[in-house]
Subunit: 194 residues, 2 copies
Amino acid sequence: MGRKSDMPKLGAEPIRKAALINATIFEVGRAGSLDVTVAQIARRAGMSPALAHHYFGSKDQMFLAAMRYILRIYGDSVRESLPGRGTRGRLNAIIRASFAPVNFQRETVSAWLNFYALALTSPEAARLLRVYHRRLRSNLLVALRGLTDDPGRVADTLGALIDGVYLRAVLTPGPTDAAAAQQVIETYLNEALA
Amino acid sequence: MGRKSDMPKLGAEPIRKAALINATIFEVGRAGSLDVTVAQIARRAGMSPALAHHYFGSKDQMFLAAMRYILRIYGDSVRESLPGRGTRGRLNAIIRASFAPVNFQRETVSAWLNFYALALTSPEAARLLRVYHRRLRSNLLVALRGLTDDPGRVADTLGALIDGVYLRAVLTPGPTDAAAAQQVIETYLNEALA
DNA sequence: TCGTTAATTGATCAACCAATCAAGAACAGG
DNA sequence: CCTGTTCTTGATTGGTTGATCAATTAACGA
């Protein structure tokens, strides 16, 4: 039988790292700030602060790993729902993925935003963000082909609008309303592609 | 005669406070983070850290005062350019004010964003932000009256779009391009009000 | 002139925290 | 068993920082 409580000895590295990344996102989202101590994160992940340093080397590396993770999760959820048929279907798939529960949970969005702020300071974080922006734009451009005569502008507007909606979602008290957010985006699209 | 340069002894409070607020915005914008020390801010404002504490009591109060200031500056610049004639003129005035140089300098936008993040933590900051959102929305609703049959949705979209454009402006390397930003907004308006 | 009030700072404290290290505990292979 | 490797942590440290306080200087009013 697979036990859990007594065998975490060998091959622990990937499990520990994953636990730390999850804990980082959770704590950053919860605190609404990057001002979380390594001790907090480690405790949440069920280990000592020293072990966290052992696996990640530094707090910054932990943040970057967490950022890579949420960006990858987002990329995956887009890719998963991408085979939407037809150009307009493809477009809707991207939107839908952006506001899928995984990407729109309050803690996730809060962490996301704080990692944005990190990009103002850390070149590595800025690089990650550029990659994400480039991919999103590229995906949007493909999906918009044929639907408008200025795909570049619409893609830019759409990107900014998505970010803005995220921002407001996390800043508005109460539960986040993914459906309403999605509606805003789709209504814009209907107008822009008329 | 009222002199200025040789009597800086009494009545220093307002001058010092203003200097500290400016220094706070500048340093927060420069660092791209709220992780600036009171010593940094005080030095930039030309005084000792102790004096900063003397006038503001705490670092948080300094941040809140700075946030109030940038929000007020923004409100003023909107109100100033508001008497635009005609409904559409009024709308353009709000947009123009949002992207006026004062409000779109890199340091200002960066500070703005970091104060947004502060609202995730500080109830007082959240309150200030709500006031700003409410006012912007109210202004937009008035300006949109008669131009669309769903002013509420357009106002929401517009607000999110403005925030998103700000976000991208500060995250994109290189100088901020206010004209391009404004163009994105106005193109959206032309589509939405068609 | 004297006392009161505002302005200003150096010195200092107490807290916090990221990072290091040495050492212990558990396991695999021989 | 014995040995080396992985895993794990308590203890420590070096540095930073928000905040306090006593003391000094300068202005103002009576």
